[in-house]
């Protein structure tokens, strides 16, 4: 590699001589200057060196650099000016050593591609350590195989910073609290309290502020509780690492590792930093957290890897966050802390913006609609008042009370309460919800992206099938069945296979009371488990045939052999490895009761079976053995073929029916995996991923080359994405979102982090999942039980429905208040309701029915209908006529009552009281109607909601109290009316309710609907499909 070596040197030297090419962005605020430094962009090393150099200057107060914008913000004292700071930054010589790890390759790469196009960070190659021999790497890092001296390590620690990732993405309490005040309805509420203060209604303002506070408290406490729960999930702290310092191997804290350190890792260790291998002995590493590939990767020190190879193929590198599953190795640290690949994925997570939730969007739109309505009503009121010749101050006061009537003061409380209830319900089912909105978003999900490893499969290896002596066996939790399907006993020939598997293995059985545990690589563990499951006494076998020596697999010999002493004093060779290579060493095969010759036909059968097993997504191993005389056996000792075993990551139970249920609920399922497409397809078929007898597989490592529109069009069709890299996952999620879909994504690995965050609902596995995945997810499955998602989706849909019902109730009742005030004023009857009465209605009597509606139980077909289309509004065009009719009916009743009151009591109080009573009564009764847009209250068999009755009764109770208690009467400005008149007022309310229900029955033809007692549990007949009906309206 002399060419690339000299190139790398040349470019770092170049950088070291030129310094920074900096320019002032702006310096308008005195004592502050923002400077753009191109070389800072995406380069933490440069950021560190700039910060350290500047902070050392006497007059510099603070420095903060941003690697995403390439800007540095410097605050300085009187001794400096912006130009001087620019000179300081520009004059900084790049420290050659600081540039090296990770930086030379970046700048070179950018120079070549040149374009300003922003790509996900993980696509952009960094230092190509994997392309260099380890001697060269050591040279570059100015270290040796003996490691660094303590002094040097201390200096480097200063220069590169501690080997820590940025603190976890936690939501601080302040953030949670502030987020409670950002929705538009709350802003409107604050606006209406200001209006109240302006018009002298201090009590009104106090009430509204109280409502805001309660609302924020509920929301914040619910979200904070979820946050606490997530924080208490297991937090992993890495143990110290064996590191060569001053030529001696010592235990060094992970945080104190620096580039150039030489570390030793062995089975069970967590890799503490990105490192280039110097030596590897049978080293294998599980990288699924980083790459999504469930099988561990064999590592080797003495190979060079292509410059552009994906992480999973860089077999001479170790990456932070992965786990050593077998063997041991010595490696030199090349990147620490935020410069590691893991750190980069964290960066991507920060860069992946969280999309706005559907509810946020809908409330936003609703808010805009309300602002318009308030404006129109206010203007209309002023116009009417002016035409009628009222005094200006009276007009404005009435107009303001109308605006108060129009603002849905109860809405924020209701939506927060509904969501909080949902969060609590889901908590009981093992789902931690971090954001209230996520509940509702889950109900709107149209596509769910399932990460294969860890979500669909269990992320461990299990022996699934074997081919021995011409017979196929299947294994299922300790049971064997042959190809005929029936249970069978493990025959003698299968036992031979198991013995070889148990002997030729480094996996150890941990004798433990209770659960059995096997430690070792996933493959060997799977084989030992199989042997134990099928009744082989592994401990006895291993003690009877003690291991004498072993021959590890190498690049050219893809199998391992162990040699054992037999009780008769001979040698037993046990071999396992790549089937074709093992087979080529065999002359005979195990047959029932003896051996038989391996002819070309048998060999071809074995090869075909090997291919077929591999085609089914299994990892296939061949097994062979030989018993020889004590003379040392060699490479050519003929072996006896024992058979093939296929191993795979098993599919979690219940996934198939879950996928079916998702499809039933109209949710598209997509599987995303880093695995090869054969494995992915086998799993996709097994779980019935595709709704049609057709499977679309997109196999790519380079989605970055596909235009956005094409990717988005493809993503909507594809069932399986195979061989994808972490940044691809993000692209897939974005592609789906660009197509207008609401996307949920499940994942457990670090590599899923960015996609989890970018999706509309990110769902992380709580148990097996990585910390990062949990920290960016909206929902965490505590028990890793994906099936719980289904209930959560049903819950989310119910929540969305209920919020809709509440909103419709609020809108129609508020509209009736507006119509009444406007109408009466226009007809010259004066103003029936004052601002306090309107607030009283909106904040007290109506809130109970709203809350009751918000916990309305789910319709039984919640999971048999498709998700509501994206962009559906809480109040849409089709809803206007119905809402207007409902409001008009209530207004009519209240107006009648008001006119009667005018006749009887005159305009001084009594008439207003009558209108107040009738309107509240009509609104309370309207709660019953609001449970369904189409079904009348007379229909039986729908899920009942006792809260509605209670809340309406409570509402009437409150009204009765208000009518009786004198100080309340004073507050509300009502007068005492006779019992007969109260009965009349409420009677009119009843008439309004009956009229509303009659109109509902008339507008919806219920002739074909079975009126009496349809069985609520059975799926409704096609004609009763509410979605179909809704479309007709």
């Amino acid at each position: 590699m002399p060419a690339s070596q000299s190139r790398a040197e040349a470019s770092s030297r170049h950088a070291s001589e030129t310094g920074h090419d900096a320019s002032i962005v702006h310096a308008t605020v005195s004592g502050r200057v923002r400077i753009h430094v191109p070389s800072l962009y995406r380069n933490r090393q440069v950021a560190l060196s700039i910060e350290q150099a500047l902070i050392g200057q006497p007059a510099v107060k603070s420095v903060s650099s941003n690697v995403y914008t390439g800007n540095v913000l410097v605050r300085f004292g009187a001794d400096l000016n912006p130009e001087r700071v620019l000179d300081l930054v520009g004059g900084l010589r790049m420290d050659a050593a600081a540039l090296r790890p990770g930086c030379a390759a970046v700048s070179r790469e950018r120079a070549r591609t040149g374009g300003p196009r922003l790509r996900p960070a993980a696509d952009r190659p960094r230092a190509a350590w994997h392309t260099l021999g380890h001697e060269v790497v050591l040279l570059h890092l100015e270290t040796t195989g003996e490691g660094l001296s303590s002094d040097e390590a201390r200096q480097r620690l200063q220069r590169y910073g501690s080997n820590e990732l940025r603190a976890a993405v936690q939501r601080p309490l302040s953030d949670i609290v502030v987020s409670q005040f950002t929705s538009l309805p709350v802003v409107l509420l604050i606006g209406s309290s200001v209006l109240s203060i302006v018009t002298g209604g201090l009590a009104d303002a106090a009430v509204i502020v109280g409502v805001i506070a309660i609302n924020a408290a509920i929301g914040a406490s619910t979200e904070a509780a979820a946050e606490r729960n997530i924080q208490t999930l297991t937090r992993f702290s890495a143990p110290p690492v064996v590191t060569a310092r001053d030529g001696v191997n010592t235990l060094v804290d992970v945080a104190a590792l620096v580039p150039g350190d030489v570390i030793r890792v062995r089975r069970g260790d967590y890799v503490p930093a990105d490192a280039r291998l110097i030596q590897a002995a049978d080293l294998s590493v599980a990288e699924s957290a980083l790459t999504g590939e469930s099988a561990p990767v064999s590592k080797a020190a003495n190979v060079l890897v292509d410059h552009l190879a994906p992480l999973g193929d860089r077999v001479n590198m170790l990456y932070r966050g992965t786990v050593v599953t077998g063997g041991s190795g010595i490696a030199v640290v090349v990147a620490t802390g935020v410069s590691t690949e893991l750190g980069r994925i964290q960066d991507m997570v920060t860069e992946a913006a969280q999309p706005e939730t559907p509810l946020q969007r809908q409330l936003q739109t609703l808010g805009h609609q309300m602002v318009m309505v308030v404006g129109v009503v206010f203007g209309g009121m002023v116009l009417i008042g002016w035409l009628r010749g009222y005094r200006l101050i009276d007009i404005v006061r009435t107009a303001i009370s109308l605006a108060v009537a129009a603002i849905p003061e109860g809405l924020p409380t209701v939506s927060t309460m509904t969501l909080a209830t949902g969060v609590r319900r889901l908590r009981e089912r093992g789902l931690l919800v971090r954001r209230l909105d996520a509940v509702e978003t889950l109900g709107a999900v149209q596509v769910i992206c399932l990460d294969k490893t860890g979500t669909i499969t269990a992320n461990r290896m299990v022996a699934q099938a074997a081919y021995v002596d011409g017979r196929r066996f299947r294994f299922d939790t300790g049971r064997v069945s042959d190809d005929a399907g029936g249970d069978t006993v493990a025959g003698n020939s299968l036992m031979w296979l198991l013995r070889v598997g148990a002997l030729c293995s480094d996996a150890t059985v941990v004798a433990n009371t209770g659960a059995r545990r096997v430690d070792g690589t996933p493959t060997e563990t799977a084989l030992v488990h199989l042997a134990l499951d099928l009744g082989l006494d592994v401990a006895w076998l291993r003690s009877s045939f003690p291991k004498l020596s072993h021959l590890e697999r190498s690049e050219h010999r893809m199998y391992m052999t162990t040699m054992h002493a037999t009780p008769e004093g001979r040698w037993l060779l046990a071999t396992k490895g790549r089937p074709d290579q093992v087979l080529s060493r065999c002359g005979a095969a195990v047959s029932d009761g003896g051996l038989r010759e391996l002819g070309p036909a048998e060999r071809s059968d074995i090869e075909t079976e090997n291919e077929s097993m591999a085609g089914r997504g299994l990892r296939v191993l061949g097994f062979a053995f030989a018993e020889v005389d004590a003379a040392a056996p060699d490479e050519h000792t003929p072996l006896v073929w024992a058979g093939l075993v296929g191993i795979a990551d098993p599919i979690r139970p219940g996934i198939r029916s879950l996928i079916g249920a998702f499809h039933g609920a109209g949710i598209q399922t997509v599987m995303i995996t880093g695995d090869q497409s054969a494995t992915a397809c086998a799993v996709a078929r097994a779980i019935g991923l595709s709704r049609v007898p057709r499977l679309e597989v997109l196999d790519s490592t380079g989605l970055a080359g596909i235009p956005d529109e094409l990717l988005s069009a493809l993503a909507c069709r594809v069932d399986v994405f195979s061989r994808v890299s972490p940044s691809n996952k993000l692209q897939i999620v974005r592609g789906l979102q660009r197509a207008g879909l609401i996307v949920a994504m499940t994942g457990d690995g670090i590599n899923d982090g960015p996609a989890l965050r970018a999706s509309n609902v990110g769902i992380a596995m709580g148990r097996g999942g990585s910390e990062l995945a949990r920290e960016v997810a909206d929902i965490v499955l505590l028990e890793d039980d994906v099936a719980a998602l289904l209930e959560a989706i049903s819950d989310g849909r119910t929540t969305a429905d209920d919020i809709r019902k509440s909103v419709h109730f609020i809108i129609s009742t508020n509209l009736s208040e507006i119509l009444l005030t406007l109408g009466a004023t226009a007809l010259g009857f004066g103003v029936p309701l004052n601002a306090t009465q309107l607030l009283w209605i909106n904040l007290l009597t109506d809130v109970f029915p709203e809350l009751a509606l918000s916990v309305d139980p789910a319709e039984s077909d919640m999971l048999q209908r498709p998700p509501r289309p994206a962009g559906t509004m809480l109040v849409g065009r089709t809803d206007y006529p119905r809402l207007a009719v409902d409001a008009a009916v209530m207004t009519g009743a209240a107006m009648t009552s008001y006119v009667y009151g005018l006749r009887r009591y005159g305009p001084a109080g009594g008439a207003g009281t009558m209108a107040f009573l009738t309107l509240t009564g009509a609104q309370l009764l309207h709660a019953f109607s609001s449970r369904s847009e189409t079904h009348s209250v007379l229909e039986w068999g729908r899920p009942s909601n006792p809260w509605i009755g209670l809340s309406v009764a409570g509402g009437f109770g409150v009204q009765a109290v208000a009518a009786v208690v004198p100080w309340l009467r004073r507050l509300l400005g009502t007068v005492r009316v006779g019992a007969g008149d109260v009965a009349l007022a409420w009677g009119l309310a009843g008439v309004s309710f009956a009229l509303g229900e009659t109109l509902k029955i008339l507008t919806h033809d219920h002739g074909s609907r079975p009126r009496a007692l349809p069985a609520p549990q059975t799926p409704p007949p096609a004609v009763a499909d509410p979605t179909v009906e809704r479309r007709e309206t």
Binding site: S612, G615, C681, A682, L695, V697, D699, S700, G705, V718
Partner: protein, 399 residues
């Protein structure tokens, strides 16, 4: 009938996007048949810039890693990662659509184990007219223009690997042959178009010289008719451009049917040959027709012969068997046709059985069908094809 004329045929190398698609399709057919000789499979491909679309319809339990096979073919052809190529085996995106045939009307049948009555029950499931042709232009009994075009294309591909690494696997050739009295007389002109990774100054002339030296001279070394002084030789007549292959233009399975057959010298069916399993009459019928025509010419019953077979859905035997000898037969044309009908069983199952089409992929390590996809499905000498055997000469020659 014209006696003196010029005829041109073209060929393309295996790296041409259309041929790449054909090759992937046939590699898949071979891989499925290797695992399950009774598999029903249709594999169609389309390629555009960085994306390869593969649609596989299947009635079999065999499992094939489709993207893996496709990448293998792409690598084999020579599209490997070298930094400048946007389309290569490793980085291209493979979009696979796997769908199932409705299996009920298509239960797996093994023609090898059939009785005469069984064969009768296997009917054509498609209507198609296929053609087979043979003539005495070359020892392989192929028309000379396409024979030479293939030879140049094949040579171009081989030379690229050995001598001209700057070339891309995508290339095109065309040969115009001047006929006198319906016999090839001289080479009127030939064209070779190459694609290259990049264009460096002064390359065009050097490239031209090397193509002439390695490709053209090599290809004609053992030919009777060679380019003469008047032959118009055009090498990259439109200039040398950088880029080629799927990164530059798109490709589709079955778009090179003339190249697959007789270079338009004789008629050919519009149906694609590649990507179909042996139960497809539009593929195997063409092979059977070529077999018949070749044997007619080999038996000396004509110097030019075209056999036309027309199949109708639901019938086993072809509704029409026509033999045209263009007046070159020493005996009555009707008699030739009678002998062909008597000697050849053109029923679909009989063809599969006669040629052993289901057992060829397991028997040959490369999967057999993949080798057909470039340089012609007929008239090959580099591979042993059952329909190129002259095993009916004796039957046809005798009364």
């Amino acid at each position: 009938m014209k006696r003196d004329f010029i005829f041109s045929s073209e060929s393309v190398t295996e790296g041409h996007p259309d041929k790449l698609c054909d090759r992937i399709s046939d590699a898949l057919v071979g891989q499925y048949l290797r695992r399950d000789p009774l598999a029903r499979v249709t594999a169609e491909c389309a390629v555009s810039t960085g994306i390869l679309f593969v649609a596989v319809r299947l009635a079999s339990d065999a499992v094939v890693d489709v993207p893996f096979v496709a990448r293998d073919v792409i690598r084999d052809i020579g599209y490997e990662r070298d930094g400048s190529q946007t389309f290569n085996a490793r980085d291209c995106t493979v979009m696979t659509t796997l769908s199932e045939f409705d299996r009920s009307p298509l239960e797996a049948v093994d023609e090898m184990a059939m009785t005469h009555a069984d064969i009768d029950r296997v009917v054509a499931r498609d209507q198609v007219t296929v053609f087979g042709f043979a003539c005495t232009h070359t020892p392989t009994l192929m028309p000379l223009p396409v024979w030479l075009a293939h030879k140049l294309a094949r040579r171009l591909a081989a030379v690229r690997r050995e001598h001209l690494p700057e070339l891309l696997p995508d290339g095109k050739t065309q040969v115009s042959v001047e006929f006198r009295d319906r016999r090839p007389a001289r080479i009127h002109g030939l064209t070779v178009v190459t694609t290259q990774r990049d264009v460096r100054a002064g390359d065009a002339d050097r490239l031209r010289a090397r193509v002439r030296e390695f490709v053209i001279e090599g290809a004609f070394a053992d030919e009777e008719i060679r380019p003469d002084a008047r032959t118009r030789i055009a090498i990259n007549p439109e200039g040398v451009f950088a880029g080629g292959g799927p990164a530059a233009h798109s490709g589709l399975t079955g778009r090179k049917t003339a190249v697959d057959t007789y270079g338009e010298y004789a008629r050919h069916s519009g149906a694609a040959l590649s990507g179909k399993d042996p139960s497809r009459i539009d593929r195997v019928g063409a092979y059977a027709a070529r077999h018949a025509a070749r044997n007619v010419v080999a038996a000396g019953l004509a110097t030019e012969c075209e056999v036309q077979l027309t199949y109708a859905i639901g019938l086993s035997a072809p509704v029409s068997v026509q033999v045209e000898t263009f007046g070159t037969s020493p005996i009555d044309e009707g008699e030739v046709e009678r002998r062909v009908r008597a000697a050849c069983d053109f029923r679909p199952a009989a063809i599969v059985r006669r040629f052993g089409l289901r057992r060829l992929p397991p028997a040959r390590p490369d999967g057999f069908y993949v080798t057909l996809a470039a340089y012609g499905h007929v008239g090959r000498i580099d591979i042993e094809l059952p329909w190129e055997q002259t095993d009916l000469v004796d039957v046809l020659g005798s009364r």
